[in-house]
Structures are given as structure tokens and as C-alpha cells.
């Protein structure tokens, strides 16, 4: 026990090492303890004060969650929606990203700043106003309406990150393809696009994940016809915060963690920051 005392630790590691461990421990506790606790509680059948580790482990609440038809269908709705949103954003934003990277045109700056505008206006206020518009257009409670809302959230980084990727493709490479006789369209698809793929992939992952977790807008525009996982989670957390909440939370994190794990090579501070105009 004596070895574990902070003082002994301090002397073994030295000042620098000690503070590094302290920082690391603080980091882990602050950011990962809540998630770890949630994972543990997802398998708790009985968890009463003052137990730290649940008195009984089991799958009681998993059964409860999976029995509810609406919850299971919300999982497939969420994934279906996220895939559609990703493709729609690719189709709309990639051309714009290319234009921003390669052309100088009147109004470019204003176009860039208008993305900021959508971020500066309070989300809730924007959703309410969009809701009123959708109501007139008959888009309330439709898939199209929800896709538009999700798309709106990812528009900025879906344009800015790929735009940075296009900018870093050397013009000379495109020119040499043109010199070899390739047309502009072929050059784009055979040279420019493949070179910009990592950036585009990062932006797509970002879009996919943010669509997966969007709740507020979906709740306002799509409810009750379109129920995604996070929307259901809102309801569950209100009703069963400590029992079914962790189970649904875990179901919601798993895809995020998997996607991040497989994309870890591409996802880093440098690639993501382009979406906010830092790089």
C-alpha cells in the first residue's frame, strides 16, 4: 500500500513524470470515466446506493430496450438517414468545395461567410423558423425535411474540409494530365478527386456521425413520424434515466467508436480543423 502513496510515486517518477501521470489520470477520469460508468451501468440489473459496482449484472434492460419495437426500428431509421445525408451532402458540397478551391469569383467571400451565419444563428431559433416554413411546404414529419435539417448541420465542414483538400492538390499534376490529352472531366475524376479523397473521407465520416447523433432538429421537424435513435433516447432518458438510458447510450456510441477506429489513420486534428477555417 505504501508504494501506492502519492509521495512514493512522486519520488519514483521524478517531478516531470509525476505531473505527466497526474495530467493523464485527470484526463482519463474527466473524459472517460462518465463513458466507462455508462458502459458498466448498461449491464446492471440491480444498482442501488451505496454500491459502486452493480449488485447484479445482467441483460434485463437490454431485453427491455430490444423488445420495444419503436426503439429497434429507430436504429435502422438512424443509419438509413445518416447514409442518405452523407450522399446528399457529397453531391451538393463537393462541387462547391471545388469551386472555392480553384476559382476566384465575385461573392466568394460572402459565400464563405454565409456558412458562419448558419452557425451564429441559434440552432433552436433556426429550427423553429425552418419548421414554420416546412409546415407551409408540407415537409413536416417527412424524411426529406429531416434530411435537409441534418444536411444543414454538416454543410460547413463538408464544404470547407474538401475545399482544403482540393487546394492541396498541385495544379501541375492536373496540368500534366491535361497535357497528356485528358479532358477536364477526366482529369478531375482520375487525378484531382483521388488525391483529395482522404479529406473528403474525413468530411463524410464527420457528416455521417453528426447525422447519427442529431436530436434537436429531428425532434422539431420530424417528430413523431421520423424517430431516430437520439430522439428515442431523449424519451428514454426522461423516463428511465438510470436503467434503459445507459443501454441505449451504448448502442448509440458503438457505431461512433467503430467508425473512428477504422478511420483513425485519417482523422486527426489537422484534417478536421479545416472545417473551421483554422488550417
Amino acid at each position: 500500500m505504501k508504494l501506492l502513496s502519492p509521495r512514493a510515486f512522486y519520488y519514483i517518477l521524478g517531478k516531470k513524470g509525476f505531473f505527466q501521470y497526474l495530467l493523464f489520470a485527470g484526463f482519463l477520469i474527466f473524459f472517460y470515466l462518465p463513458l466507462m460508468n455508462l458502459c458498466m451501468l448498461a449491464f446492471a440489473d440491480k444498482y442501488e446506493v451505496p454500491a459502486i459496482i452493480p449488485q447484479e449484472f445482467g441483460f434485463k434492460w437490454w431485453g427491455f430496450v430490444l423488445e420495444q419495437r419503436s426503439l429497434v426500428s429507430s436504429i435502422s431509421v438512424s443509419f438509413f438517414l445518416a447514409i442518405i445525408v452523407t450522399f446528399v451532402s457529397l453531391a451538393v458540397c463537393i462541387p462547391a468545395a471545388y469551386a472555392l478551391a480553384r476559382y476566384e469569383f465575385f461573392g466568394k467571400r460572402i459565400f464563405l461567410l454565409s456558412f458562419l451565419l448558419s452557425n451564429a444563428y441559434p440552432r433552436m431559433g433556426l429550427y423553429i423558423s425552418i419548421g414554420i416554413l416546412f409546415y407551409k411546404l408540407g415537409l413536416m414529419g417527412t424524411l426529406a425535411g429531416v434530411v435537409i435539417i441534418h444536411f444543414l448541420n454538416s454543410m460547413m465542414f463538408m464544404t470547407w474540409i474538401p475545399s482544403g483538400a482540393f487546394r492541396s492538390v498541385y495544379r501541375q499534376q492536373e496540368e500534366s494530365a491535361r497535357d497528356a490529352g485528358a479532358g477536364p472531366i477526366r482529369t478531375f475524376f482520375k487525378v484531382t478527386l483521388p488525391l483529395a479523397t482522404p479529406g473528403i473521407a474525413v468530411a463524410s465520416v464527420f457528416t455521417f456521425l453528426s447525422s447519427l447523433e442529431e436530436a434537436q432538429g429531428t425532434l422539431l421537424v420530424g417528430f413523431p413520424q421520423i424517430k431516430t435513435m437520439p430522439v428515442e433516447l431523449y424519451g428514454v432518458i426522461m423516463e428511465y434515466p438510470l436503467t434503459a438510458g445507459p443501454v441505449l447510450s451504448l448502442i448509440l456510441i458503438i457505431p461512433t467508436v467503430l467508425v473512428l477506429f477504422f478511420m483513425r489513420k485519417y482523422i486527426n486534428a489537422d484534417s478536421l480543423s479545416g472545417g473551421y477555417g483554422v488550417k
Partner: protein, 283 residues
């Protein structure tokens, strides 16, 4: 030849057209519509009453002040801690810094609702920390729920990874060689930080602060689940105005929040403009 030139002029507009149409439909038009609505009075006619309400009603005024306080504290703490963390990630090459570098991005992608729920299981009065403290015969009640401290804590959870990401990207642009050169000429660590690293990253610090400010001013999930009833964060207050059918007041509050965000965005735009001038100068 002439035709090609005209096409070259139009082509970029064709590329941005789909984005522009969507921006017009779901950003410009709704904002303009709610701007108009904010001047419409509930009893008919036009006027500033909806705005005045938020500055004359004591509860509403308190909400605005409270929100600004929470957001300012969040910005200062998040940017400060993140800058330190980003420096550590950039200049320390130990296994702890590498591991943190691997792990710190995950929270950015965790659904807000999940993170808040997780934090609540730890910090509530019968949560994990309380239960652990009982092992040692203590009865620690953090008292972080339903007040500003809990909201700030949760804001930090969301924003430190985000701010660290932006700042780490900014710091990665600084060449090792230039720092070594400064060190060779006898500059101490603090001096290098103050005279070299900080000035090189001022712009990025402002950008980061702007985004943190904007995203927290209208935040909803965290105060909805962790905040108290009085005073309320503006995101909640907006939601309840809407829920009670005060669409005009909700619109006015949105505009007020928008103006507050714009104040911080001005800094961002200004620093961005400067950057482009610099880019132009270097061709």
C-alpha cells in the same frame, strides 16, 4: 473562344448553385422571416415590444446575464486548458502525450445526450463519486446538478477536445526548426512561448474562442438535463417561449442571441480578412 470565357465565368457559380439554393431556403429565408416576425406584436401591428420584453422583464434579463456569464467562463476555461493541452501534445513526446493525442478526439464525436447522461451518473448526489467517497467514510455531495457549475463542467467536456483539436492544428504549423533557432539564440521556454508561439497562434485562439462562444450560447441539451429552473440558459428560455406559443418573442430572442454571436464572429471575420491579405501579399 468568347463562349469558353463566358462559360469559365459562369462555371463556378454553377458549382455552388446547389449549396446556394439550400442556404437560401433553410438559412437566409428563415432568418429573414424570423427577423420580420420578431417585430410583429402579438396583439397586431409592428413594434419593438418583443425585444424590450427581454431587457425589461427581470427574469429574462437575468437569463441573458446568466447565459453570458456561463458562456464566458466556458470560453476562458476551455480555451485556456486546451491551449495548455495542445502545447503538451505538440511539444512533449512521451507515451502519455501520444496516448492522450489518440484519445482526446473521441468526445468530440460522442452524442451530446449520451455524454450528459454519463456525466450525470458520475456527479449526481448519489452518483459514482458519492458512492466512492462513502468507501472512505465520507459523504461527498458535489452539488453540481441543476446549477451553472454542472453546465460549465459539461461544456468543458464537450469543448476542450474541440478547442484542443483546433489549437493543436494551429501549433502543428509552427516549424520545429524555428523553435530550435530561438532556443539556440538563448531564449527560455517562457520567452519562446510569449514572443513566438503565442503571436503565431493569436488568430487561431480567436477563431477557437468564437466557435466555442457560438456553440455554447444557444446550447440546449446540457442545460435541459443539468440546468436549474431559475435562472435559465437562453437555449431553454427560447424553447419555452416557442412551446408556449410566443412565436414572435421566440423570434426576437433568436435575433438577440444571433447579435451576441455576431459580436464574437466579428473578431473571427476580422482575423480571417487579415489572413487573406497576407496570403495575397505572398502570392
Amino acid at each position: 473562344m468568347m463562349k469558353e470565357k463566358v462559360f469559365g465565368k459562369i462555371f463556378p457559380y454553377l458549382l455552388i448553385l446547389p449549396s446556394l439554393v439550400i442556404l437560401a431556403g433553410v438559412v437566409f429565408y428563415p432568418i429573414a422571416a424570423s427577423l420580420l416576425r420578431s417585430f410583429e406584436l402579438e396583439e397586431g401591428g409592428l413594434g419593438l415590444d418583443n425585444y424590450l420584453y427581454f431587457f425589461t422583464d427581470k427574469i429574462q434579463r437575468d437569463n441573458i446575464i446568466y447565459t453570458l456569464q456561463v458562456v464566458m467562463i466556458t470560453v476562458l476555461l476551455a480555451v485556456g486548458v486546451s491551449y495548455f493541452l495542445a502545447l503538451y501534445l505538440r511539444f512533449s513526446n512521451t507515451w502519455t502525450s501520444r496516448l492522450i493525442g489518440r484519445l482526446y478526439l473521441l468526445p468530440r464525436f460522442i452524442p451530446g445526450l449520451v455524454a450528459v447522461n454519463g456525466m450525470i451518473t458520475v456527479i449526481r448526489d448519489s452518483g459514482l463519486i458519492n458512492r466512492i467517497s462513502r468507501l472512505f467514510g465520507l459523504e461527498i455531495k458535489l452539488g453540481l446538478m441543476y446549477n451553472s457549475k454542472g453546465i460549465i463542467l459539461m461544456n468543458l467536456w464537450f469543448n476542450i477536445p474541440f478547442a484542443t483539436m483546433l489549437l493543436a492544428a494551429a501549433l502543428s504549423k509552427i516549424q520545429n526548426s524555428s523553435i530550435e533557432a530561438a532556443r539556440d539564440s538563448g531564449a527560455g521556454k517562457l520567452q519562446i512561448l510569449r514572443t513566438m508561439i503565442l503571436p503565431l497562434t493569436y488568430r487561431d485562439i480567436f477563431i477557437t474562442a468564437t466557435f466555442v462562444f457560438m456553440s455554447n450560447l444557444g446550447s440546449f441539451t446540457t442545460p435541459y438535463l443539468m440546468g436549474g429552473n431559475n435562472p435559465q440558459m437562453l437555449g431553454i428560455s427560447l424553447y419555452s417561449q416557442f412551446n408556449n406559443g410566443h412565436y414572435e418573442r421566440a423570434a426576437a430572442l433568436s435575433v438577440i442571441m444571433f447579435l451576441l454571436s455576431l459580436l464574437s464572429a466579428v473578431v473571427y471575420v476580422y482575423t480571417n480578412m487579415k489572413k487573406s491579405e497576407w496570403e495575397k501579399g505572398n502570392g
